[in-house]
């Protein structure tokens, strides 16, 4: 129990440090078309001044299979994005997600993403990644809740 409390405190401290250094904190709505269906869900992330991003996500889909009826498929975990190139409101990222599929199966997802800034607070992102050994396409609508300057 003591170890758990120490672990939680360390994680919280790390988050606070990251949070304080973050340029922006954003929420997003994701849609990802995979070979097994289109998953939707929210994501939270912070972004540093140098455009590195880290956060957490959740997405799910309800599939109907003739032999098994309705099956809910979930995928949640943590995400990170490294900026590769930035120009005129576009930022190209290499992305990486790690998490659990159906609360059971460890999944690692490499990908690439293009973010287009629409306004200072809103942007859209389109990406492609490898899910279940097939190409998946994703779209994301992101809103910055606040920037450092507004804190």
């Amino acid at each position: 129990m003591k170890n758990l409390i120490i672990f939680v405190l360390v994680v919280l401290l790390a988050l606070i440090v990251q949070f304080a250094n973050a340029q922006s904190f954003s929420i997003a709505m994701n849609a990802e078309k995979t070979v097994s269906g289109t998953q939707y869900g929210p994501a939270l992330s912070f972004q540093t001044k140098s455009n590195w991003r880290a956060g957490a996500f959740y997405q799910s889909v309800m599939n109907v299979r003739p032999e098994r009826g309705e099956i809910k498929s979930e995928f949640y975990g943590i995400s990170a994005a490294a900026p590769l190139k930035k120009c005129d409101g576009f930022v190209f990222y290499a992305t990486f997600r790690a998490g659990l599929s159906n609360n059971q199966f460890l999944v690692l997802v490499p990908g690439i993403e293009t973010e287009i800034r629409l306004t200072p607070r809103a942007s859209v992102a389109f990406g492609t990644s490898i899910r279940m050994q097939h190409v998946a396409a994703s779209g994301k609508l992101m809103f910055r809740i606040f920037n450092n300057s507004s804190l």
Binding site: D88, L100, S101, Q104, M132, Q133
Partner: protein, 197 residues
């Protein structure tokens, strides 16, 4: 040289043109053959090298087609009943000789027999499920639950095998076609597999 900024209107126009182009190209594209072909060469056990892959759902569902190369005679009944592995997965963070679930096959009595083939806490369990015709797709499914593996083949009754003591969360790596047993393929053997999602 003056730098030119792209405005939102231009971005929208480009996006619309790309989407239209995508629709036009997709409309002309023939439907892909999603069967993957695995050839186990004469004298080999494994088929072609593949990237590692892990199960991401509690069901592994696929179709498989065996052609005439699935017929073989090893000249010894004991060797002939060695199970060749078709497709399956290792269980949570286990090596496949500890905990795993696969379909297996053998050519015996002039027919292609399909088995449920599991390692449970290091012990091997095999159960006959049914036979499948050559050159015809058959439906296979393994469902993993908290305490058991359930094997489904076409319209045969499901076969259930108790699961070992394994974790719940982790890596379930895929196990691809393998010929043997101890004896390698006597000739090239080709199996086509299409994963279903």
């Amino acid at each position: 040289m003056r730098k030119r900024n792209i405005n939102i209107g231009e971005v929208n126009t480009i996006a619309m043109m790309l989407m239209l182009l995508g629709v036009l190209v997709a409309a002309c594209e023939p439907a892909p053959d999603l069967f993957q072909s695995f050839t186990i060469k004469k004298g080999e056990h494994y088929a072609d090298v593949r990237f590692p892959e892990a199960l991401q759902q509690n069901t592994l569902s696929f179709q498989a087609i065996f052609d005439n190369s699935a017929q073989y005679d090893l000249g010894d009944e004991c060797l002939q009943t060695n199970k060749n592995k078709l497709f399956g997965f290792s269980d949570c963070n286990s090596m496949h000789h500890e905990n795993s679930a696969r379909f297996a096959w053998q050519w015996f009595n002039g027919q292609l027999e399909i088995y449920a083939y599991c390692y449970v806490n290091g012990g091997r369990t095999e159960k006959f499920i049914g036979t499948v015709p050559l050159n015809t797709p058959s439906n296979y499914r393994i469902e993993v639950s908290g305490s058991s593996y359930s094997f489904y083949l076409n319209n045969y009754p499901p076969v259930t095998i108790a699961r070992g003591n394994v974790c719940d969360r982790g890596v379930y790596y895929m196990l691809w076609p393998y010929f043997g047993g101890s004896v390698p393929a006597p000739h090239d053997v080709t199996i086509k597999i299409k994963k279903l999602f």
